[in-house]
Symmetry: C2
Subunit: 355 residues, 2 copies
C-alpha cells in the first residue's frame, strides 16, 4: 500500500541498524557461509546450490504475540526462540542449517526491544552457522515469520513416513518442562512455587529451547523416522504413526522428565511430558540393532537419549485411523491405560482452539 515516508527512522534504517551485519565478510565465521552468495539488500538473496547428491530442506514458522509468546517476553530470548523453532524442524529432518529469512511486523519502532531481539537472533544464528539472508519489515501487530533452509544428502531425510514395525521409539533430552513453566507462569497450579534456581532451569526450557541440530545430522543413517515434539510428545508421535501406517506401544513412565518435574504428582508429570508442547526435542524411531549406536551418539553429544517404546503392527480394523487406536500407553506396572485417558493425553497443541 503506497504511503509517504514521513518519519526519520524508516524500514531501511531499521534493517541496516539491527539486521544487516558484516558477518558474511567476517573471516572468523566466513567459512560457514560459503553457501551465501548474496545476502540482505537486493530483490532476492542468492544461495550456492548444495552438492548434487544433496537436497534442500525448507521450513517456515510464524510466532504471534499473545499466542506464541507473552507481550512482556524477554526480546533477547524471543529472538533466540524464533529461529530455534525453525532449526528444530530442520533437525527433525536431519538437515544442516544453511540460512534463513525473517519477516517481522512491529507495532512501532522500539530500539531497546529491537536491539535485544536482534542480539538473541544473531547469537543462535552464529551458534548454528545459519545467517540471516533477507526478509521484510513492516508495521503491524507483532508477528515474526521465519523461513529456514538447510541441506542434507539425498535419501537420508528423516521423514515421518519412515517408521517400521519393530523399531524402537526414542526421545532426546527431557520433556514436559516447557508446559510446566507455562502452567506456573499462567498460575494454573497456584500451589507450585519452585525456588529461584529451579525456576530458572524450568523457564529456560520454555524460553530458550535448544534445537537438536547435531542429533538430527547424526541420526541420518541411523534412524528411520523423526519428528520434533513442538506440539507435545504423543501429538507429534501421532504424525509418524499416521504417515507410516503403524502403531506404538509407549512405556509412559520411561518418558524422561527433569528432576524438578519428577517431584510433582504422577498426573502432572504425565500431562506435561505426554501432552505438553514447546519442548523441541526429537522423537525418532530406529531399528533395534542400532540401539548401541544411538547410545554412543547420545554420549558423544552429551545428550540424554531414552528408549520409550516400540513401533507395532497397526490393527486392521477400520477404526485404526483414529489416533487413539494407534497408541498403547503402558504404565510401570505393565498395565495399559484406558482409552479415555489415552484420549486426554493425545489432545495436542492447536493454534485454532477456542479455549
Amino acid at each position: 500500500m503506497a504511503s509517504d515516508k514521513s518519519q526519520q527512522f524508516g524500514e531501511f534504517d531499521l534493517i541496516n541498524k539491527y539486521f544487516l551485519r558484516n558477518s558474511l565478510s567476517n573471516p572468523s565465521i566466513d567459512h560457514h557461509h560459503e553457501q551465501v552468495l548474496l545476502g540482505i539488500g537486493d530483490d532476492c538473496a542468492l544461495l550456492a546450490p548444495p552438492p548434487s547428491d544433496h537436497m534442500l530442506a525448507v521450513t517456515s514458522d510464524m510466532l504471534v504475540e499473545n499466542r506464541h509468546f507473552f507481550s512482556d517476553a524477554d526480546p533477547k530470548l524471543l529472538g533466540h526462540k524464533s529461529l530455534a523453532v525453525n532449526l528444530s524442524d530442520l533437525a527433525a529432518m536431519g538437515a544442516k542449517p544453511t540460512a534463513f529469512t525473517l519477516s517481522i511486523a512491529l507495532p512501532h519502532i522500539n530500539h531497546a526491544w529491537l536491539s535485544a531481539f536482534s542480539e538473541g537472533l544473531h547469537a543462535i544464528s552464529d551458534q548454528f552457522h545459519c545467517p540471516l539472508i533477507g526478509g521484510d519489515t513492516t508495521s503491524g501487530p507483532l508477528t515474526i515469520a521465519i523461513t529456514a533452509m538447510g541441506y542434507l544428502p539425498k535419501k537420508s531425510a528423516l521423514k515421518r513416513s519412515g517408521a517400521k514395525v519393530g523399531d524402537d521409539i526414542w526421545v532426546s533430552g527431557e520433556v514436559g518442562d516447557a508446559r510446566y513453566a507455562l502452567g506456573i507462569r499462567r498460575g494454573e497450579w497456584p500451589s507450585i512455587r519452585p525456588d529461584a534456581s529451579s525456576w530458572t532451569k524450568i523457564a529456560l526450557r520454555m524460553d530458550a529451547p535448544q534445537p537438536r541440530v547435531d542429533l538430527g545430522i547424526a541420526l541420518r543413517d541411523v534412524a528411520h523416522s523423526a519428528v520434533d515434539i513442538s506440539d507435545g510428545l504423543l501429538g507429534d508421535l501421532q504424525h509418524i504413526l499416521k504417515a507410516s501406517q503403524c502403531q506404538a506401544a509407549i512405556q509412559i513412565d520411561q518418558v524422561p522428565v527433569s528432576t524438578q518435574l519428577q517431584l510433582e504428582s504422577q498426573a502432572m508429570r504425565r500431562i506435561c511430558s505426554l501432552r505438553g508442547g514447546d519442548d523441541y526435542e526429537l522423537c525418532f524411531t530406529a531399528p533395534r540393532q542400532n540401539a548401541a549406536q544411538i547410545e554412543a551418539i547420545g554420549r558423544n553429544l552429551n545428550l540424554r537419549l531414552t528408549k520409550i517404546g516400540n513401533i507395532t503392527e497397526a490393527p486392521i480394523s477400520s477404526s485404526s485411523n483414529d489416533a487413539i487406536h494407534r497408541m498403547e500407553l503402558i504404565d510401570q506396572q505393565g498395565e495399559r491405560l484406558p482409552l479415555q485417558e489415552v484420549q486426554m493425553y493425545l489432545k495436542s497443541f492447536d493454534h485454532f482452539d477456542v479455549a
Copy 2:
C-alpha cells in the same frame, strides 16, 4: 504456546482443506514440479538441488491487514497478490520460480474467505508453476508471510549493483495506476470518478499485479541490473544508483502511463508514476547496444518496454550520497526539475511512516 485442542476444525484440517493439494501428483502439471521431492506434511519440505551451474534465489514478503490491503479486500485477489509480490522479486533477479512457503495468521476461521483466498493463491501458483510446499497457520491478526524460491544460472543474476555508466534505463508496462487506484479508493481526489470499465482496469493494476517473470528470465544476459518497482519507480531506481555508485538522468514525461492516467493532470501523472508504489513492473538498465534485443523481447512477450533515461557518472562531491543528487529529472522541454520537486518524487513508500 501449549494449549488444548477444543474445536473441531483445527490447524491440520485447515491445511488439508485449503492448502494441501494433489497437484504434485497431478500428471498435467507434474513435469513442472520435478524440483519438489516432498511437499506439505512433514517437518520440512524437500527440494531437489538446482543444476550445479545454477543458484537459488530466495525472497520473503509480509502483507498485513490495513497496511498492505484493506479489510474488505477481495480474498481471491489477495491470494493472487500475496504470491505475485514475491514472484516479482524473483523476476527482478532473473530467477525462475520453483516453490514457496506460506505462513498465515488468521483472527478466526472463515471458510468463504479461506476458500477464495486459496483459489486465488493456487491459480497464480499454477500459472507460474510454483507450488506451495509448506508453511504455518496460526491464529492472530490477519498477516500473510510468503517466502518464494527460484533457480537461476550462476553469474546471470540481475543485481542492483550491476548498472554501468552509459546504460539505458528501461521500465516494463505502464506505471502509476496502482497509486491512482489507491487514491481513488481512499477518496483522495474526490473529483475523479472514472467510468466502470476504466475503473476495472485501474483497480486490477492495484489488486492483481502480474509479476514480470518471463521478462526477468529473458533479461538475464541482456540487462546489467534490475529492480521491481513495488516502492515507486524513483524510490526503487535509487537502490540501483546507490548499489552501483552512479547517477541517472530520467526523461520523466517518457515514463509510460495508462490511457486513464494520461487524461489526468501532469502533476497527478507524475506523482502516480514517479512516486506511487505497488506497480510490480521491472526497472532495468542495459547497455545501449542491446536496445534492439530488448525491443524484440518486448514484442515477443507482448509487453511494453520503454526507455526512460540513462545511467550517468556520479558526481564526486560528498553530497553525492544523497539520493537527491543521484537523479536528474528532465521534462519534455528538456528542462531539469528543481531539487525541491525531485525530492518530492523521491519520497518512497515506507511501512514505518507515521502518516
